[in-house]
Subunit: 363 residues, 2 copies
């Protein structure tokens, strides 16, 4: 293998793929990145056996070949080099990396040992606008579970319902759902949230469409010159739509920034009560008040003006409430609930494609 | 105690003092901040028994008094409040903190139990320009030792020598010395580096002179409305000046940024050899090259153009070399050394008031 690439391209490709390479795995080669020529391009790939990412860049190839090299060292090294031409020259398993000023030898492992993600055969392919996918991921991914004992809840469900494509997550304490608009494909995919966090990073500020190809086992996302493939999670996702309340005994509409501020301040006094805060809405005064359950440190009460229908109170986890408020991006938020033991819905009337549910705490 | 302060002032004062309050200490009151009226001012104080910081702010006091309250909660809380008037109202040990929108109660501990740093009696007082002190601290504090088994090396020595005031540190691996200019006081103070890190934070961008008052036990720094007092370290500081080489067999002068870059890149390949890099200077070619000692991962060689007198090579810890290069702030650096086992001196001909020594590794 012998070729020339620019530092800018090589650095960009290493940034895309290197994070997936992990030294935590027992297989040492998984902390390496596969560097491989194909025609007049160079591909860089990394995998943790569940997720694989490949980034293609232009290169001036004078000798074909492939090698795997330590991902972290290679990324740190290339990102420290000045912009300009980098020569890669492989001698057995030693990759010589040279520029005008630097001469390095990086010890590699032969590419034959590198695990390759199985290809998707006979998959269906469709497209989603990149900016829409990015926004949707930002609004739902964080509400997926980290608890590996219930694998389906660690997924983001991407599914068609009544002609629309939806993306949703729930960790059983809160729930987020985004309507991605009309879609003719009939799909139900349970995609690991961790893979979609990597996809979010790769999407960057792309305005290109993202090509999605899937079969029963895997899904492939193609964004420009980058490909991310991940295994799907098996199992049946809970019927989460049953948890989204449709009508409300109490509803308050107020500035989102106001509710964020009073919740943040109240949460400081709720550290010893696992973040528990009680929200009280009063129709007569048009007031929303938030109270931290008294603790050793002290207590807090804060008020915000709201447009109110019906009075009532509910106790929530302030962190989940803040996460939901941050996922909404409009100027106002509508906060609706029924009894003390029923879920609360956060919505923005101006952006009805996103719904966020927070389950109550027993007050 | 009953008073009004602005959120801006209270927040500023809490930011100055709260960091010294620590919950690690076995004495619970040390995680509190003392809030105390004095005439028409409010003082906020925190201490860890070694260092004490007090910040005075203006207040509209209608009832004198004092209380201690949890520093972290109080700081987080006040910094989250909107700008404007805050009312403080003490009822027994409960401090009511109210604004238009927020009503809080913070549970305190009576002020009588708060440890007070002893006052400095019959101390000498002198002044240092704030900007000069700040620059000096930035250039020397980091080279003090963290090793509590040799307490004197955890100090910054501030001492007079031949009519100049000097500040110096050494952890026995490297050494930094700053000339603060002519000074008529005859002092030798061993000040804990940790206290001077707090002072650095307090100095901010002040252009005011800093008043220094000391006796045999303590030193007090006064910067605007803030006072920092710290215990001095007892013992005899080593005669560090003997370690600073005066003449050189090999000397290279080059762009500081060039030496920083090649050292950074080389250090990536030196991770398995505890950061060891070898610098070779060649008079004939006017070249400085830096080589990472070969390791499992690979090896690196990098070059920079320099103005050279004498040839030679030396092995250094790349982290210490980078620390020294970052403490110099000029465009060029002069790198001088003698034998392989003798100290290296980093200087900037345009700023001769700062000298940085790095001890060699056995190559």
């Amino acid at each position: 293998m012998k070729l020339q690439v620019t530092q800018e391209n090589l650095n960009r490709a290493l940034s895309s793929v290197a994070r997936v390479a992990t030294s935590k795995n027992s297989l040492p080669i998984l902390s390496n990145v596969l560097v491989k020529t194909s025609d007049n391009r160079l591909s860089l790939s990394a995998t943790n056996l569940d997720i694989g990412i490949t980034h293609y860049i232009g290169a001036k190839v004078s000798e074909e070949g492939s090698i795997t090299v330590p991902a972290r060292l290679m990324q740190d090294f290339v990102s420290s080099l000045p912009a300009g031409i980098i020569n890669l020259d492989l001698a057995e398993t030693k990759l010589k990396v040279t520029t005008d000023q630097y001469q390095s030898v990086v010890n590699g492992i032969v590419a034959d040992d590198f695990p390759v993600m199985p290809a998707i055969a006979n998959g269906k392919t469709w497209e989603v606008p990149g900016a829409l996918l990015k926004k949707a991921l930002q609004q739902v991914v964080f509400a997926a579970s980290n608890d590996e004992t219930r694998p389906v809840l660690t997924a983001v469900i991407l599914h068609t319902f009544e002609g629309h494509l939806y993306m949703a997550t729930t960790d059983s304490y809160r729930l987020a759902e985004k309507d991605l608009g009309p879609n003719t494909e009939d799909v139900t995919l349970l995609i690991p949230a961790s893979a979609l966090q990597d996809l979010l990073r790769i999407l960057g500020d792309t305005t290109d469409p993202v090509r999605v190809t899937h079969d029963d086992q895997q899904v492939l996302f193609q964004v420009g010159d980058v490909e991310l493939v991940t295994r799907l999670i098996e199992g049946k996702y809970p019927d989460y739509r049953k948890l989204i309340p449709q009508s409300f005994a109490t509803q308050a509409t107020l500035k989102r920034a106001d509710l964020v501020n009073v919740t943040k301040v109240s949460s400081l006094f709720a550290r010893e009560s696992a973040g528990s805060v009680t929200i009280e809405v009063d129709e007569a005064s048009g007031n929303l008040s938030i109270r931290s359950v008294a603790s050793q440190l002290g207590e807090n009460n804060a008020n915000a003006t709201a447009s109110v229908i019906g009075s009532g109170s509910i106790t929530l986890n302030s962190r989940y409430l803040l996460d939901g408020l941050n996922a909404l991006s409009g100027e106002t938020v509508t906060f609706g609930f029924n009894g003390k033991l029923e879920p609360t819905l956060l919505t923005d009337a101006k952006a009805p494609d996103y719904r966020h549910v927070v389950m109550p705490l027993k007050g």
